[in-house]
Symmetry: C2
């Protein structure tokens, strides 16, 4: 680990904007250690039922945020983290942020979010559309039909489909449902880029997000063509005037911290501000994964798989492959599982009997911990219960959000820990299927680093992941890999002359290599799981393709029907 | 309802020997009402781990009882019920019992159970083999292979298979594992017949049990042939010497109550004692189902379907068809679901979160009642969760105990009441499949009467059963249809001259027609469930036949593996 050993220690600040809250870390550039962290919850949270203030009701599947929540939380977390770190403000040389994506802010040319204007504040389309706003599904469906039936869209690099979460469906929804907002919006911009714009006064867009979420393809000459967009809705090509092509690469210096924000945050005026990043992708550098072959698993409510490769070939079942997204000239693949930690959480909240809750309390354990201890005593390959981990649908390799979870093998002898373990095993089987998809396409997966909150929450899941994939799983030392990654980007933006680093590769190597745990596969367990995995794959084939109608019909019943109160 | 209106009211006593306890009722022959009931739990219960006294350990799947427990409980329940009824002893004109079947007592020629003899008491094979003793599965498998590969056994009337619960596998296990016991046993006799023997001093065997459980076929000349039995194990044909062919029909008078038992029970010496009955079959008369076309559902931990018909044709998927079992000259069909009430109970014990348990308590409800109220608000045909009700395997129509339960359609929005309702719906779908199997074979199901504990426990299940089958379900007034049925048999054994009845048909008509509830199908709900039932059948086809291997492998893992502690 090389760092500026003889110079005074320098620090950067990284701020990660998640779904519910923002968190800031202060990172020591000599060691990569986070000296302090602070979290701040968005006052309006995820807005899914009614607009704050006006009370205007939202439809099903809407998910908005208030852009100004980001700014308030930015100030709160950074000032708190700095105070807790004890670091002198003069030794901080840069700041960078990352955020969820695709999360879109409609703004004026001067960056004012439309929701801040009194004339627009009671129109839901003036607000930030959060990544998990799924109300543009009809628009996404039409884009997918267009891509399947014409040459105007090539979705092969995106596994053949756009998600309703991405930029084009979201902006098409605005265009069709709120033409007044569409007209007034000078920009549709990712939250990460909008916040960076505030800090620097410079509008710049992340090439990374444009590639992964806005269907911008360097190798194909840019965004979708005007002809294609107009064929979706006449005049929709006007969206191109509202999307920037002024891109900056990951780790680049967008500008300098403006005095007003330096004052608000308690940081030096003019320090480097790096390009904003996507919250998953930014973890790669925090895991020292800036060269081909090292797969990063960002593990939380869902799992995001990220992998760099020398070549970019479209692979069915992977969510996207984008050039230059992390490292210039290198392709970045994304894939993932839609629901993992949230499925485990669902089980604990909805399926653990009172007798277990009481026993856990007697033992001084939380329910998760108690289940882990019980489920850990089931032998590998001997669990009579088998599950499909599709509580939130399947992202990779089936890309079908209308699939649902399944559990088979129930008997009167089945205990809650059998089912809990079956869910962990199913999630690990799902990971194996993704890794096998990469390997089967000739994309090397040399080693695996996990980050996010789940590895600390479920050591049993980590061991199952190692056993079932037959691979060693390293766990990043950082519990805030997003914010750490942003801080590393800031160190690159600051550059060696200021005490930072010359490249993401060098910085990742110096600062991202800390590991808290390594899970090694037990060869006996790996062998024992072969037949269970074959059974899992049989269910995947039946429910995921052969007879996909059963789960699709169930999903429709749920959305047509009235939920139990 | 005709009864002895001008004569003084007469009464009979019925005693039902269940799996865990015996219960007695005193029945008013003018109205069919039970005046009093009393329950007595067997001191040794179900013996499945070690023999009482000696502590000799039992193997997996063993289930024994102590024959003397029956006698103690007989005295206790009858004396208590009589006292509670206030009926004068002189007005009681008969007694009869029913018991679980196939439950086999090995005895000496004088009826002494071998387990009462000090020389044999530490040999498990000397004890009563309870109906759910499943350790003779290897013997059952061999009989099924023999039936499939030779003409020596015709199992067509039994759906093509013997169950490990039946007499031949159980006695073959004794022959092979404990030849000393087999040699010493003068009789292998059903518990119902053994208890009746005690009351009368007369050894007589129920034609009903012989037909349903001992493969005795009137129309084919009796038990299996000596040649067939010897081909299972040389010398096993000696079992024929140990099985009586001295049969008595349902409702016949076996003999008179002997003085010692009259004294013990507080009943008149010499009153009529009827042929013992099987606990499910005896319910038919208690539901006034003594003519073809009225199906009886005996609903508890499992559901037993019973139906009389003019013709007896073997139907694949039904558990048995026996002539003369209930009414002379008429065929009785049996089918059923292996696990229903116990599946619901499993869910309540293993899958209802502490938050629900607490909320139920606040509302003053038990957890069952709270779940019923929540699940009742899910609209018919709108439940996004679908289940297979095979927690204890499938009895009819698949006859595969190695199948297991399944639930599909889980999402983060799934609530416990969705899953609970899915289990109720699946059990009702399973009933529809059975009824459709009868109808499809040309065996008329004109109306349906339910008895047992489940109708009172889950009114929601009863309504779903009506909606999903599209049929009216009448519910017997009696909560103890077994014991009531036995008391009606006693009234027929006593005969009209003593104040009883001339036939089971007449007695059933007079005493078995009381109903507590009638559930009528809602045509809208029936229509709404059509597509859900089609989906259920798709899963049945996949897991029950097309790809039966998945669940079979899971079951093997369970029995090979070590269960979670």
């Amino acid at each position: 680990m090389s760092a500026t050993v003889e110079s005074p220690t320098r620090y950067t600040v990284g701020v990660d904007f998640g779904t519910e809250s923002a968190r800031a870390v202060v990172v020591d550039l000599a060691t990569g250690r986070e000296l302090a962290e602070s979290t701040s919850v968005y006052p309006s949270g995820v807005i899914s039922e009614a607009l704050p203030g006006s009370g205007v009701l939202l439809g099903a599947d809407w998910a908005l945020q208030d852009a100004d929540d980001y700014l308030g939380c930015l100030t709160e977390t950074v000032t708190r983290a700095l105070a807790a770190s004890g670091v002198p403000r003069e030794s901080v040389i840069g700041i960078a942020i990352d955020a969820t994506a695709c999360t879109i802010v409609p703004t004026l040319a001067d960056s004012t979010p439309l929701s801040r204007l009194v004339d627009y504040r009671d129109d839901p389309h003036a607000w930030v559309k959060l990544w998990k706003h799924h109300a543009a599904q009809p628009q996404a469906d039409r884009i997918n039909v267009l891509a399947a039936t014409s040459d105007d869209f090539d979705l092969a690099p995106y596994g053949g489909r756009v998600s309703s979460e991405w930029l084009l469906p979201k902006t098409l929804q605005v265009y069709e449902e709120a033409p007044r907002i569409f007209e007034r919006a000078d920009r549709f911009i990712e939250a990460q880029d909008w916040i960076t714009w505030q800090l620097t006064g410079v509008e710049s867009h992340s090439a990374q997000a444009a590639g992964f979420k806005a269907n911008f393809r360097v190798e194909a000459g840019g965004y979708a063509s005007a002809r294609a967009l107009d064929s979706l809705a006449p005049g929709f090509s006007a969206v191109l005037d509202r999307l920037s092509t002024d891109f900056s690469a990951a780790g680049a210096r967008v500008g300098s911290l403006v005095p007003s924000w330096a004052d608000a945050l308690g940081l030096p005026i003019g320090i480097a501000v790096a390009t904003g990043s996507m919250d998953a992708q930014v973890s790669m550098v925090a895991c020292d994964a800036t060269a081909p072959g090292r797969m990063v698993l960002v593990m939380g409510t869902s799992i995001c798989n990220l992998l760099l490769a020398e070549t970019g070939i479209p692979v069915e079942g992977l969510a996207g492959v984008v050039r230059d997204a992390i490292v210039p000239g290198v392709w970045a693949y994304e894939a993932g599982q839609a629901g993992v930690g949230d499925m485990f959480g669902w089980f604990v909240r909805n399926s653990v009997p009172a007798s277990y809750t009481e026993r856990a309390r007697e033992l001084g354990l939380d329910v998760f911990g108690y289940l882990e201890s019980l489920a850990g005593s089931v032998e590998p390959g001997r669990n009579p219960v088998l599950a499909l981990d599709w509580w939130s649908g399947n992202r990779s390799p089936l890309a079908d959000s209308a699939l649902s979870g399944a559990v088979i093998g129930y008997s009167l002898a089945t205990r809650p820990e059998n089912v809990y373990r079956a869910l962990l095993e199913a999630a690990a089987f799902g990971q194996r299927a993704i890794i096998d998809t990469f390997q089967g396409a000739g994309i090397a997966v040399d080693d695996i680093v996990a980050c996010g909150g789940l590895p600390q929450k479920s050591p049993l899941f980590m061991q199952l992941l190692a056993d079932i994939t037959g691979r060693e799983i390293q766990v990043s030392h950082s519990s805030q890999a997003g914010a750490l990654g942003a801080a590393i980007h800031a160190a690159v933006a600051a550059g060696p002359e200021a005490g930072g680093f010359a490249s993401l590769g060098e910085a990742g190597n110096a600062l991202g290599g800390n590991r808290s745990d390594v899970y090694s596969p037990d060869p006996t367990a790996t062998a024992a799981y072969e037949s269970s995995y074959a059974d899992y794959q049989e269910l995947v084939t039946y429910f995921g393709s052969q007879n996909v109608g059963v789960m699709h019909r169930l999903k429709r019943r749920a959305s047509d029907g009235i939920a139990a109160s």
